[in-house]
């Protein structure tokens, strides 16, 4: 889970599987967008960062694995197309966007420390002493604030709803005061100083998109084939159980010839691959009843048919 404050929301709760992502990214590029796109999917979380229309950073975190740049974009495309994904787009200032990028690609020094259990003053003193560049991420379950540092000196604050690094600490401190607040210490490792290239300029995102589409189509096909196989196995199992029930019931009422009559009628009405259906089953019973008249009387046949109907319903209920 990538914890980032929500910036100034441009769009929220968009299903990325229903839009053409290369086109959407192209539009952001043309509009000189600065900010980030957050993809929350069942597989993991993806972040795509823009500064002035340049796609400078892409990250996809899946469990303990992280993909970056084109691999991340390709994976974001793939999981978006698979469905059950959510896309939020937040606007940020250029500095903040780069800081977020540095933060995502930097190192986690401390993670999930309970704020009330640590000496915050000592921690800040240590950051200053080490001349660390990076940030403190203070968060609860539903609120996040970032405090950015450069060379050990605080740069400013970023919290939900802000678009730029702010100098007022109110919101960030209010998060720190919330019960159960935790802190992560992250080092940018100098990632903010690197001149970042535009990933859209050096790669054909449409090709990645098409490839992702192909992968998803293949996955859906194989999933549907597997489901179909499972259904078939289940249906075959049900068919066998119904047939065994009919055979046993027929043998109990009209003897061994009953099992032969059942086999014959069953093959006729429910050939391999034909699903069990109550209307067809009733036709089978009618026909079976007629054939059984050759060897048994009406009372016996009626009892047999009733037992078969009861058995069939019970088996349908079970499966």
């Amino acid at each position: 889970m990538i914890l980032l404050p929500r910036g100034n929301a441009v769009r929220e709760k968009v299903d990325p599987g229903k839009i053409n992502l290369p086109d959407a990214l192209g539009k952001l590029q043309k509009s000189q967008f600065t900010g980030y796109l957050r993809f929350d999917t069942v597989k993991g979380t993806g972040i795509v960062i823009f500064t002035a229309g340049k796609l400078i950073s892409a990250l996809f975190e899946e469990g303990n694995d992280q993909l970056i740049a084109y691999d991340a974009i390709a994976r974001i495309f793939e999981v978006s197309l698979q469905g059950q994904a959510n896309l939020d787009i937040y606007k940020l200032s250029g500095d903040l966007a780069i800081s977020i990028h540095a933060l995502l690609h930097g190192k986690v020094l401390y993670k999930g420390q309970e704020l009330k259990l640590i000496d915050i003053k000592a921690l800040l003193g240590k950051l200053k002493e080490d001349k660390m560049s990076g940030c403190l991420r203070i968060y609860t379950d539903d609120k996040i604030a970032l405090i950015f540092y450069r060379d050990g000196n605080p740069l400013g604050f970023f919290h939900d709803g802000s678009t730029d690094i702010e100098t007022r600490a109110d919101e960030s401190m209010s998060v720190a005061r919330l019960p159960g607040a935790k802190v992560d210490v992250l080092s940018s490792g100098g990632a903010d100083a690197i001149n970042l290239a535009d990933l859209m300029a050096s790669a054909d995102l449409s090709a990645l998109w098409r490839k992702a589409q192909e992968i998803v189509i293949k996955q859906r096909k194989s999933l549907s084939e597997a489901e179909s196989r499972d259904r078939q196995v289940l249906e075959n199992d049900r068919r066998v159980r119904v047939q065994l029930m009919l055979r046993a019931t027929a043998e109990a009422h009209i003897g061994k010839i009953g099992t032969s009559l059942v086999e014959k009628e069953y093959e006729k009405y429910f050939p391999e691959g034909k699903p069990l259906d109550e209307a067809v089953f009733n036709k089978l019973l009618d026909h079976l009843g007629n054939a059984a008249k050759m060897v048994a009387g009406g009372t016996t046949i009626k009892k047999m048919i009733d037992d078969m109907r009861k058995g069939f319903r019970n088996l349908l209920k079970e499966s």
Partner: protein, 228 residues
Amino acid sequence: MDWSLLQLPLWIIAGGVSFYFSLGNARVWTSIAVGFFLILIGEILPAAFSFLPGMDMPEVRALASIVGTISILVMSHGFQEYYVFSRTLELEGNKALVYIATVAVIFSSAVFILINPSPTAETLKVIKIVENTNWVFLSLINIDLIRKIYLNIKDSPISKGFGAFMAVFFFIFLWRGSDLYIQVYDLVNLQDAYPFRYHLSEFCSNIGNVLAGLSVAGTFLYLAKLLR
């Protein structure tokens, strides 16, 4: 002793029961039941000769024997169909067709008799021999066929009814076989020379006839109970 006083009422009961049975059961029983009903016709006609004027015509005697022959052919056909069913579980045909076909064959036989010269005593004897020959050999074949049917359906509710049919055909074999023996060796005319053979054969024929009538009625009543 006039055996016909005992035989005729028994065949009337057996014929009535079998015809009634043919109406309310599966199609394949129709051929079997109609066949047994026709025995009644074949038996009633000769018995009626002494009571009804004009019945003692050679044509009527010939027709009685032919109906008797048709009787065993129809019931044998029915047992064959039942055997085929017990092996293949296939059923076809319909009841009306069995009745119509049987009536049509009897009608055609009557026409055949009428368009030919009036049967002489010798012709009637040959026709009677043909009838009894059919009964004797088809009874044996039917016993074997019914044995096979019984094995195919032996644990079904109706299987014991087929055991009863084996007894029926044994009595019919006794009855018709004795008749055939008397006819083939002309024992009626040779009874003074071979009294024991003649009287034994005559007795077997009469007792076979009575037991056949009894067993047919009993078997159909038993079948009706099993098929209730």
